[in-house]
Symmetry: C2
Subunit: 339 residues, 2 copies
DNA sequence: GCTGTTTCTGTAAACGTTTACACAGGTCCT
DNA sequence: AGGACCTGTGTAAACGTTTACAGAAACAGC
């Protein structure tokens, strides 16, 4: 591995000069600069990121802590994040699937010193765990975390509002028995979406019935199972709100297997509005959250915090949702969007 | 930021001793060990990954270079990779969306020195670019790259065989006019799948007709467009092989919009067998490649190369495919798999 | 009591950079 | 001529570790 010393020796200058050339800093004679560059190219010298980081205390990396990255949702978040990071000449250290507190702490420690900032998207994390395991100086952006602290930047999807609006929409079309397929237990998103559903049901004349709330795990197969069970309920619900699109897709599959027409016999809606939603049969109505933008915004916020450490003001932002109404909820023939 | 020196001072020992304690190496008095640990915990000391890496020349990181990570395919590869890496206490540095040679080189240089090994999944990369931009000592695994060199470990999907088998399958059910929706131009996977399709068409009595080969971009919307154009061909093809599942999903949507029954009027098959395939309407027949396993295998191979640098033998492996036959190709009512 | 071995610990160099500081030589003003 | 100020360069410390080497203490064998 060729180092700055090799270049310096070969070019007949000191390492300081080589460093100056590569960082475009301080005055260097044009002729010297040329010679150093020439030698460097010839030796295929690439400055060591490690040495540099150790000296400057910057890593040009940002960490991304994700839960289980099933399905299209996380793939979209990641895509948005990576694009934004890359444009800013940062790169991404990704770590996923942290279910228990133990695993999260290990991941947090691993990131420590390796990254200039951290985006954390983890349903089960608390302010204490963060404070315990992170240096206070490390910028952090929380994505959809249930941490009510103004010590951190936070970006949250309006889970409650979106679920409320979609449920209200279903009710407004005459449905009374609207079922919900819930998300993973103890999951913040799941809880908020459920709350939105319940409040809308109460306010707009939905029939309140515990049996209409079916358990789910945010996966296609759990949506499939839930839909099957739902058909056994009597009287049968006339509409179903799935807490995410994966489960809606599973439900759609189950209903089709049972010969139930969507939306004619049962209306269906999801949450997330993944790209594939508009290509399903029938096209899936969903709560649009701008997944890609979520990734973009997270990185942008983090980079601002990293670059303007002293002036940066921490913010807790709730991102609004829209309804993407398509065929599956039965209210329209063409796609439309409602804010 | 608290360093090894702080711990050493506070515990009344030298930094060497602290280091020994944290690495469980060399003899250290039990009492000393206890005290050092105690002080470290109290000070919340975490060894600096940077300092450590600089000294040991290991980073405990592996790089993952991906193309545009659209859709479920890459999300699955990434999931497999991350799980495997994490189990081995490595973490992943991810970089995606490298279209031109320029961007790839930049990404390669960025990775340099930051990772112990590299998994590269890039349709348009050549051996020369790799040799130019990477130290020869860095272990590399190529995933689905069109690089015919035994200087690198390589994992390739049997694109040709899978496409051949699926086309043959469609032909075996009486179809003569089987169309293909091609993948991105100059893409290795796309080319190989096309080759498999053509050879099968020739060998098993397909009707050869240039118009049956429609351009596509591996995206849902390009599949949608291709299917629409396909309907204008006369006589109309009776079966369509999409070069990946995303395009098959787009095609399915287009056919439905035009009121064409799948598989009754037109049979359809995809490639990749993404998890969602079995939840579509109709369920999608596809070429199964074990995406998750692809990620797992790649990391496993790389880790072997990293850990047994001297004894490791480079291998070029072609992963076999299976046919996942479901409803969309019209040959069966229930799911079945053919090797 | 000497030598040899074992156990524990410290000193210092090395890893590859950046950067504060010093200094030499030149130019420009007064 | 003497100072003030540039330009170009080198020296050396710093960043946080690991580790080869050396040395001190204790203890056994003779």
């Amino acid at each position: 591995m060729v180092t700055i010393k090799d270049v310096a020796r070969e070019a007949g200058v000191s390492i300081a000069t080589v460093s100056r050339v590569f960082n475009n800093v301080g005055p260097v004679d044009e002729e010297t600069r040329r010679r150093v560059r020439q030698v460097a190219r010839q030796l295929k010298y690439v400055p060591s990121a490690l040495g540099r980081s150790l000296s400057t205390k910057k890593t040009d990396a940002i960490g991304l802590l994700l839960p289980d990255l099933f399905g299209e949702f996380f793939s979209e978040v990641l895509r948005g994040s990576d694009q934004t990071a890359q444009q800013a000449h940062y790169h991404l250290v990704v770590s996923s699937s942290h279910n228990n507190r133990e695993a999260i702490e290990a991941a947090l420690r691993m990131m420590r010193g390796r990254v200039d900032g951290l985006v954390i998207m983890s349903p089960h994390i608390d302010a204490e765990t963060l404070n315990e395991n992170l240096p206070h100086s490390l910028p952090v952006v929380l994505l959809n975390c249930y941490v009510q602290s103004d010590k951190f930047d936070a970006l949250n999807i309006d889970n409650y509002g979106g679920a409320f609006a979609m449920t209200q929409h279903l009710l407004s079309h005459g449905h009374r028995r609207v079922a919900i397929i819930k998300g993973t237990e103890h999951n913040f998103d799941a809880a908020e979406r459920l709350r939105g559903y319940r409040d809308a049901m109460r306010q707009f004349g939905g029939e309140l019935d515990d049996r209409l709330e079916l358990p789910g795990l945010f996966s296609e197969s759990s949506g499939y199972d839930a839909a099957k069970r739902l058909l056994a309920i009597s009287p049968r619900p006339t509409a179903v709100f799935a807490s995410n699109d994966s489960m809606a897709i599973g439900a759609l599959s189950a209903l089709r297997d049972e010969g139930i027409q969507v939306p004619e016999q049962i209306a269906l809606a999801g949450f997330d509005d993944v790209p594939i939603a508009s290509f399903l049969t029938p096209t899936l109505s969903s709560v649009q959250v701008g997944i890609h933008q979520l990734g973009v915004k997270a990185i942008e916020t983090l980079l601002h915090a990293v670059r303007h450490k002293n002036t940066h003001r921490k913010q807790q932002v709730v991102l609004p949702t829209k309804l993407s109404l398509r065929e599956s909820c039965g209210c329209t023939n063409s796609t439309s969007t409602i804010s």
